[in-house]
Amino acid sequence: MASSLKALLVEDTAVQRMVLSALLRKQFHCEITMAENGKEAVDMFLEGNTFDIVFCDKDMPIMTGPEAVGKIRAMGATDVKIVGVSTDFEAMEAFMSAGADVFVPKPIRLDVVEPMIQEVINKKNN
């Protein structure tokens, strides 16, 4: 599936960044930008960067995922699909309350992310 989607990956752990970026790049040909915490992610939006989809971890230093999601939505970035991710299912409520579109548990599976990517592609093409 060729997408050329712009994906922002917000994840503080190097191993997880490596795996998820490879998944998005190799399987969906996404253009990947990485942020190591919520503040870096927010700063990217403040700098005027736009993304089609954001994958955001919950527990990170400086600024958590839900806090970053809330700030991103508050600055008017309502079109970007935001996916909250965590190994803990309890994180779902925090992400959804902050304005994420969906929550997926870690490790992220190909069969789970594929329909999300396809939905974003379809929306972008319409």
Partner: protein
Amino acid sequence: MDYSNLRRQITFMKKSFFDQGYLDEQFHQLEELQDESSPNFVEEVVVLFLKDSPRLLSNIEQTIGKYPQDFYRLDSLVHQLKGSGSSIGAVRMKNECSVFKAHCNDRNLEGCRRSLQKMKREHATLKQKLESYFQLLRQVGPREHAVNSRN
């Protein structure tokens, strides 16, 4: 050792990792991401995990030894280890991290100590097994590395 014997040994070794519960389906997903443009992807991810995880284990051990106990920090450290471990399919480590987190939630320091010792043992065993596995893979050469395999 000839190629076919090596190949058999690799296949058997990998199967044992799954049969004995050291690895889960996530490891297969890593293999699916390995191709000719990144023929050593799986090993690179595992090496990164094995390089990063001792630091986390050490931080956990240091934090357990501090007084007053900081269960919030312990939970945060183990959370990172759980995430990294699950990313490579290290299911035993992931499960023990969940046990540790439960002890944190119960503010059970002794439980945390016991769980940490288990995590360290699981980590050492996994490290030894995976390092042996990749050593064998390197012996069969780049052809083997570049081929996605569920054997």
